[in-house]
């Protein structure tokens, strides 16, 4: 069964079809939210909200297009709003003033590759929002340029130029602020 057929069944009220679609895309949605927000709890909230909104707007979705870019666009918008919103700071304050703070999970032992990836993420976070988003979509979530165009609602040519500019900015950040990554980059 194709994705369009699943969507058609979900529109007709088939809960199992919608659950199947959620299951197929929840990892990408959650991961993009986590990359943009840097907090698993907030990413969870945003991912849940993204599927809620998508479910409500499913009737308006063009089934000739793939679903994932559309879901990721909703997710990115929600994450951006979340970053700006007052609620995020209130939630952080609530956590701070909680009488019994949750014990912080012990930082997991990272392999060298994971540590490099985390440093790369920190370097990407130094870029502007649009540049972050293209790098996350292209290299972390491995979307094609056509999918990126759908997710960002921009022409494919603009995707290329934005990606190129983001990589140049990233190179500058790595050179100036992440010497360990620079060595890895030079070795690679």
């Amino acid at each position: 069964m194709t994705e369009a057929e699943w969507i058609g069944r979900a529109r007709a009220g088939d809960d199992a079809a919608w659950e199947a679609l959620v299951g197929a895309h929840q990892a990408a949605v959650f991961r993009l939210a986590y990359l943009l927000l840097g907090d698993a709890h907030e990413a969870d909230d945003v991912a849940q909200e993204a599927f809620l909104r998508a479910g409500r707007a499913l009737d308006r979705f063009d089934t000739a297009r793939p679903l994932r870019p559309w879901l990721l666009r909703i997710t990115a918008n929600l994450a951006r709003n979340r970053r700006r919103s007052l609620g995020r700071y209130l939630a952080a304050l609530e956590r701070l003033w909680r009488s019994e703070p949750r014990p912080a999970p012990a930082p997991p032992e990272l392999s060298a590759a994971q540590a490099d990836a985390r440093d790369l993420w920190r370097a990407v976070q130094r870029l502007g929002q649009n540049e972050q988003q293209v790098i996350y979509l292209r290299y972390f979530l491995e979307l094609s340029e056509a999918e990126m165009a759908g997710a960002l609602a921009i022409p494919p040519g603009t995707v290329k130029s934005r990606l190129h500019r983001a990589l140049q900015r990233l190179r500058g950040v790595i050179l100036s602020e992440f010497p360990s990554l620079h060595e890895e980059l030079a070795d690679g």
Binding site: V22, Q48, A113, Q114, Y139
Partner: protein, 155 residues
């Protein structure tokens, strides 16, 4: 890194390949199972918190306006809130007061007995009277045509 891809090409292509390979190792937290949460009803459509707040606010305003449209309710509310309330108390009539004069206060202290005071300063008595006190004649009085005496009497 041993598993690092050795790529040729231009500097930009090498950077792109390195970023792609490095990003693959990113330690994501475990993805929550949103599909099963939906089965449990957590993903059922619900009103937005902001929309709910707006509806509650609008309902409150409408209810308040409806209450204030009734004059009795409005008066009771104003009475409770004590906004612009003027209370008028009617007192029972009382008999008119009759004035009883008290002792007249002495405005001037009694004159001290002065042995050096000349006899003409007294009016018919050797001791100073509280009803009349002599005042010392000022120096300019000697230059006046007729002598004068100044007496102050109590009212």
């Amino acid at each position: 890194m041993a598993d690092r891809a050795r790529t040729g090409g231009t500097s930009d292509e090498r950077l792109e390949a390195w970023v792609r390979l490095t990003a693959r190792g990113f330690p994501y937290p475990p993805t929550p199972d949103l599909a099963s949460r939906r089965r449990a009803g957590a993903l059922a459509p619900r009103a937005e918190p902001r929309a709910r707040l707006a509806w509650a606010l609008a309902a409150g305003i409408v209810a308040l306006a409806a209450l204030l449209a009734v004059p009795q309710t409005r008066a009771a509310l104003i009475n409770v809130l004590q906004i612009g309330v003027v209370r008028i108390f009617l007192a029972s009539p009382t008999p008119p007061l009759t004035a009883t004069p008290g002792p007249t206060p002495t405005l001037l202290p009694p004159c001290p007995a002065s042995p050096a005071a000349p006899p003409w300063t007294r009016r018919g008595a050797q001791s100073p009277s509280p009803s009349a006190c002599p005042l010392t004649r000022p120096t300019w009085a000697s230059r006046t045509t007729s002598s004068c005496r100044t007496w102050m009497t109590q009212p």
